[in-house]
């Protein structure tokens, strides 16, 4: 109780209240505009938050992160275009509801489900915080290294069918963070004798380039879309009643969101996929899924809104971000000399609980705002794409230039913007680059510190947590290899139009040998050669 009271004390400030309001309203607006998304907004606002107190800066960013998915549901439901990438599943059931004349029901259901997901995850994590505070000190250098490695591997293998290029891009991210003056032996790494590379490549420059400037380029080179809006009539409160009729789907989806959010590199998509599949399989009307099912909408929206609070767990407890948005938030901690990790949970638990309480208040604010302001808010969907590109490019300048007033940073950001544009055109992920940069730096420091006291390689995993993490890494890699082999087998079967025999080269040779040796094979070959002779005789 004392902890919660001291956390409330941290939040009882006018600037925190303003940050909560700006974060929640701004996040909803940003989420509602297709083509912007929280990553772009957070990347642009990041340098502006450096001059604020950590709690104020983090509240704004958390507000945008937590509330953008609420806003993202609006265009997903009304015009079949997800406002943020994670609202893609909302279009499956949200838009068909609009098409049959129930946009108000779909929107209020989405808000209620999102609210439930958000509140559920925050309450879970406030209750779970004391347990985390006990587990976090068990993480030394070796454990943090292994957890960061696990996070990186999970991010790579999560890109099904693109794991190799995702791994290449993660390695590229690790390489980027090694550029500059190395802090232990003071030697230069890949600076090519240039002074501007001596200080290294700033994470925020890369983030702004890959997320904000690249998105501006995408919008500027795209066509404007014609938007046909649906009129909304009536109140928005019926969703709360309807949500109460599906407590099982909402509860399980929120649990999936919390669990998946805590695992680095997994995030909203897996949580949504699992909860949607669960809801469909256990529903009395599975045929409605994809055609405007209220359960499908609840599953998708509850799961994705339960993730942001949970995603803060690896960041706060271990200092390891699980995805791009929390990686950006890590830099806010570093700027204010607040080092997230086990020490934060031991010494500044009230700060952690204050962040969670801020998220709780934020969810209430967003719901109230949306219940009363949706009809005016939907107008932002009308902003033309290319004009949005102009706005993002203008705002990106503030983000990059205010960092160090350096034109070189801007050149680099523009370069990463072009790289991000190319990655978007090729449907390749840019998140592994960011996580490679952040986790690569953590891995370098922690491995050096961890290996200082290790005499034999196996000593590295002689502590229980390190051993468990090592086993998880092996399991993840083994599962991934098995999946790749299965995909390869399926591909060969599809290519050969058969699934009866093994498709390996050894088995193929074995069958060929048997066909040569067996009498039946000889007969078949004799018949074929007779037919062939007849055919060739014709010419």
């Amino acid at each position: 109780m004392d902890l919660i009271l001291s956390a409330i004390d941290i939040l009882m400030r006018w600037d925190v209240a303003l940050a909560l309001l700006a974060g929640s309203v701004g996040g909803v607006l940003i989420g509602a505009i297709p083509g912007v998304g929280p990553a772009v907004a957070i990347a642009i606002l990041l340098p502006a938050t450096f001059s604020m107190d950590p709690i104020v800066g983090l509240t704004v960013l958390l507000g945008i992160y937590g509330s953008s998915m609420y806003g993202g549901a609006i265009p997903a439901i009304l015009i079949n275009t997800p406002g943020t990438a994670v609202n893609a599943l909302t279009t499956y059931d949200g838009y068909p509801m609009t098409a049959r004349g129930e946009p108000r029901r779909a929107l209020s259901l989405a808000y209620s489900a999102s609210f439930f997901g958000g509140i559920f995850s925050v309450i879970c994590l406030i209750l779970f915080a004391p347990v985390l505070a006990k587990i976090a000190p068990m993480f030394g250098s070796r454990e943090i290294f292994l957890a960061a490695l696990l996070g990186l591997i999970l991010v790579v293998v999560a890109h099904r069918g693109q794991a190799l290029i995702a791994g290449t891009l993660a390695c590229f991210g690790i390489f980027l963070q090694t550029i500059g003056l190395e802090p232990v032996k003071y030697t230069q790494r890949y600076t090519f004798g240039q002074d501007f590379l001596g200080g290294g490549i700033n994470l925020i420059v890369v983030v702004l380039g890959l997320f904000a400037i690249s998105q501006a380029f995408v919008l500027l080179t795209d066509e404007d879309e014609k938007v046909r809006m649906t009129r909304l009539r009536g109140g928005m409160f019926q969703g709360l009643r309807e949500l109460a009729r599906h407590p099982r789907v909402a509860g399980v989806s929120a649990t999936f969101g919390v669990l998946m959010g805590m695992i680095p590199g997994v995030g909203e998509f897996t949580a949504q996929f699992m909860s949607y599949t669960y809801a469909q399989k256990t529903s009395k009307r599975p045929q409605d899924f994809g055609n405007g099912s209220s359960e499908g909408l609840i599953a998708a929206e509850t799961a994705n809104n339960a993730v942001p609070a949970a995603a803060m767990v690896p960041l706060l407890a271990l200092g390891i971000p699980g995805e791009a948005l929390t990686a950006m938030m890590l830099s806010v901690f570093y700027v204010h000399n607040v080092v997230p990790g086990p020490g934060l949970f031991q010494n500044q638990m009230d700060f952690v609980v204050a962040l969670y309480l801020a998220l709780l208040i934020l969810n209430v604010l967003v719901l109230l705002f949306l219940l009363f302001a949706t009809r005016s808010l939907i107008q932002v969907v009308r902003i033309p794409n290319r004009f949005l590109g102009v706005c993002i490019l203008t705002l990106s300048f503030v983000g990059v230039y205010s960092l160090r007033n350096s034109a070189t940073d801007c050149v680099m950001a523009a370069g990463f913007g072009i790289l991000g544009y190319i990655l978007k055109r090729l449907s390749l992920p840019s998140v592994p680059i960011i996580l490679g940069m952040v986790l690569g730096g953590i891995m370098e420091v922690k491995l050096r510190a961890g290996m200082a006291r290790v005499k034999e390689p196996l000593d590295f995993i002689d502590r229980p947590v390190a051993f468990i993490l090592f086993c998880i890494i092996i399991i993840v890699l083994a599962v991934h290899i098995l999946r790749v082999l299965k995909d390869r087998k399926e591909l060969k079967e599809a290519e050969w139009q058969t699934n009866r025999a093994s498709t390996s080269f050894g088995s193929l040779m074995w069958r060929r040998r048997n066909s040569f040796l067996k009498d039946h094979g000889k007969k078949v070959r004799a018949r074929h050669s007779k037919l062939l002779r007849r055919l060739t005789d014709l010419f």
Partner: protein, 176 residues
């Protein structure tokens, strides 16, 4: 007709081969330069060597990028790849706009350059109605006021502000 392997490839075909070739080529070039660009310190453990992490990263890029290139279902650069590369080149124009904006702000000032940049780029993008141009100018003013005056982000005063009379000069340097 695309083969089964091509059909199952995640993402579009255009540009994939060019990107993979450039990525692996760049990684190989960095690998060749590793002895020149990083140091090996005597009597230091492997994991504490300054060369260790660049070697891991570039080694990973070469290995995984090479495997990605090998597993691509295409072996020849087609005309679609070249069209795609041209499309990538189109964004250089907007990168140029951005760099022009960056270089002019310290000379002419944040507010005047933003007031010119946003309407001009909007005009270039085809929004030529007075309504859109006014919206652009309004957006430019709002951005400058929000970030420089309200959030006090670090954007230095312009060179031409030095020629303004006393109190106006400090007001412009601080807020616009």
């Amino acid at each position: 007709m695309p083969s089964e392997r091509e059909r199952r490839f995640a993402g579009p075909r255009r540009g994939q081969l060019v990107f993979a070739l450039v990525m692996v080529g760049g990684a190989l070039l960095l690998l060749v330069l590793i002895t020149e660009q990083t140091a090996w310190i005597q009597k230091t453990k492997l994991f504490a060597q300054p060369r260790f992490w660049p070697a891991v990263a570039i080694g990973g890029m070469v290995l995984l990028g090479g495997l990605h290139l090998y597993k691509l279902p295409w072996r020849r650069v087609s005309r679609y790849d070249l069209w795609e590369v041209k499309r990538w080149g189109q964004v250089l124009e907007f990168a140029g706009w951005f760099m022009g904006y960056v270089l002019l702000v310290p000379v002419i000032g944040y507010l005047p350059v933003t007031l010119a940049f946003v309407p001009l780029l909007s005009w270039r993008m085809g929004y030529r109605s007075p309504f859109m141009l006014w919206i652009s100018a309004g957006f430019a003013v709002a951005v400058v006021v929000l970030f420089k005056a309200f959030l006090s982000v670090k954007i230095p005063g312009a060179l031409i502000y030095e020629y303004l009379p006393g109190s106006l000069r400090s007001f412009f340097i601080l807020y616009l």
